[in-house]
Assembly symmetry: C2
Homo-oligomer: 363 residues x 2
């Protein structure tokens, strides 16, 4: 496999070290009779910048200091120290958790969060202090995405270490959860990755043997791709060198699902490696609606409002995005991926997909 | 394995025969120079009755005749004949489809549906004429649910016939799609089935080895269980004799997720075998919120309105339903499954689950 990824054990050690470093720094400050403080990059809107070269949002140079000397800082300071110690325990004991679980768990420690928004924001603070994603310290999203195709993985999670699975074993697809996200890639017979927004199309692609006919791995995101799925897509692209084609519904929401996989989100401007800059959005484009004479529905007011937002977003400044937004405004219609069924159930695989795969050449 | 289920081939033949019977009846009527007509049970509200014995909605004795003689009937009559011929082709060619796909596919045949609601309703007509569920004629929902545990299945779908998979192979769970739904159960090391509303809890249960410690299969429904998941739960209960415990959030929506698994929905009153009457809803109960002193949130106006609807629903006439609705009204609070994390991440498995498993004794 391409690239030299540290082993699961090494990665775990690095996470524990980063968390312990935060704790020992605070400890040292107290011993030196200083008010403990933590320096972190500012995540205010004015410090979130779009970097055209790496095609993603990044944080600028501004930092903030959170200090126990400032009475308004004591609460978030304490909360962050608690979150760091809680996730250190998670990683040490090889358990996973969710954002929601962290919020409730706090009560066992008499930590006080007004609501989950508050605990989520402290977890994001810890991400930007440590430079680690919350998945690194075992806080996972509720999983929904699935994968299928000729990739053999080796698990690293407790009880499964060293066990292997080929991802064609179950034709309905296997879930992308902590075990898959933390696995090593052992052997891959595919030479590309196709990412689909919808489960229905996933089933169609498996039935039509896209994995064999086009040597592809297939992922369904089930709507907006969870962060761990985006990390997996990045790893498949980076470690295995697989080019990535994304197919979504032909509307502003589908466009943005593709964009977040490619460029990440402003919310995660403090993190790298969550996005896949060289992935390609293959459609359904607004121009496809015209070219393929697809059954379509009028854009709603909400759709149009969203399109206007996207038009102002710097990530949408280039083609195909710019061109497709313009075309959506012109035709004022949208189409789903299933709309290709008007030409028969297999048309999307037999005709549309090969056309779109040509976009990947040279990418 | 308990019960004598017809083989995949036999089931497929039976579906094809039922569909062809509809066609040949129509053909015979035309040959006899009669206007073709189809008789089917009425699905109007007045003909949907709650059967307390089998704990589900059923259709009463009223029938309607849809006849080509009646000009208002010609459109739905033709549509139903087309749907029957379309799904006959699906089954014959071993392909699956979705409700959405059927709607779009119609356009390839110049069949005219105003919207998907119209094609969905015709598919339901065909269900009640044929007595088959749409999954029997290969129209599946988008998959979202997943399963984990010591069950070995044997696939019957094309390309996988005879291949087997043990459902502990992937610790994130495998998706419940057409391949799993159509599989045969070969060997099962579990003696119960636990159904969870949420993915987060599913991951927790797998991590805490609920499948080994409690010899359980674990299913996550990801919200309201799709019909094919409900069919699978029924099969696990019926064919393997596994008692079923359902755990949801403690609010009217969670209650109803459990109820639909147990008693089915009024929409499917024309079908049997989609529900599991002897499954047990184990919580989160309103009384659990009190007994376990769970962190809780106030019921919203929408929650209260939904509770009032449930109180009027005949399926909610007995305990624990009646008691829990009363308690919800009294405490006017709700709690999520993750709320148990306030006692530590493993409390729900170590303490709460064993308590609830006692409900299954003698069931």
């Amino acid at each position: 496999m391409r690239g030299s990824r540290p082993s699961a054990k090494e990665r775990r050690e690095a996470v524990l070290q980063a968390l312990r470093k935060i704790g020992s720094d605070i400890y040292d400050q107290i011993v030196r009779r200083e008010f403990p403080r933590i320096k972190m990059p500012s995540r205010s809107t004015s410090n979130i910048l779009y970097d055209r070269d790496i095609k993603q949002y990044v944080l600028g140079g501004k930092h903030i200091i959170r200090s126990a000397k400032n009475i308004r800082h004591i609460r978030p300071f304490t909360q962050m120290v608690w979150v760091a110690s809680f996730v250190e325990e998670l990683v040490r004991s090889n358990k996973t958790s969710t954002l929601r679980d962290v919020f409730y768990s706090a009560q066992a420690y008499e930590m006080n969060f007004v609501d989950q928004a508050e605990s989520d924001s402290i977890i994001t603070d810890l991400e930007s202090v440590s430079g680690l994603a919350r998945e690194d310290f075992n806080v996972f999203p509720e999983e929904r995405s699935a994968i299928f195709g000729d990739l053999t993985i080796e698990y690293t999670v407790p009880g499964y270490e060293g066990r292997r699975l080929n991802l064609t074993s179950h034709p309905d697809g296997v879930m992308i959860g902590p075990a898959l996200t933390n696995s090593e890639f052992v052997e891959c017979g595919a030479d590309k990755l196709i990412v689909l927004e919808k489960g229905a199309l996933f089933t169609r692609f498996v039935e039509e043997k896209v994995h064999e006919r086009f040597k592809a791995l297939i992922i369904q995101t089930a709507g907006q791709a969870p962060r761990s799925t985006r990390t997996l897509i990045r790893r498949l692209n980076e470690e295995l060198g697989l080019p990535v084609l994304i197919l979504t519904d032909g509307d502003p929401w589908g466009m943005h699902i593709a964009m977040v996989i490619i460029s990440g989100s402003a919310n995660a401007a403090h993190l790298r490696k969550l996005n896949t800059p060289n992935a390609i959005w293959g459609g359904v484009w607004a121009t496809d609606i015209i070219d393929y004479k697809l059954p379509s529905d009028p854009l709603t007011d909400l759709d149009l409002k969203r399109l206007e937002e996207l038009q102002r977003d710097p990530r949408y400044g280039e083609d195909p995005w710019r061109r497709e937004i313009r075309t959506f405004f012109k035709i004022r219609r949208k189409a789903e991926q299933e709309a290709f069924s008007r030409y028969g159930l297999t048309y999307i695989v037999d005709e549309y997909l090969p056309e779109k795969l040509e976009l990947m050449e040279g990418s």
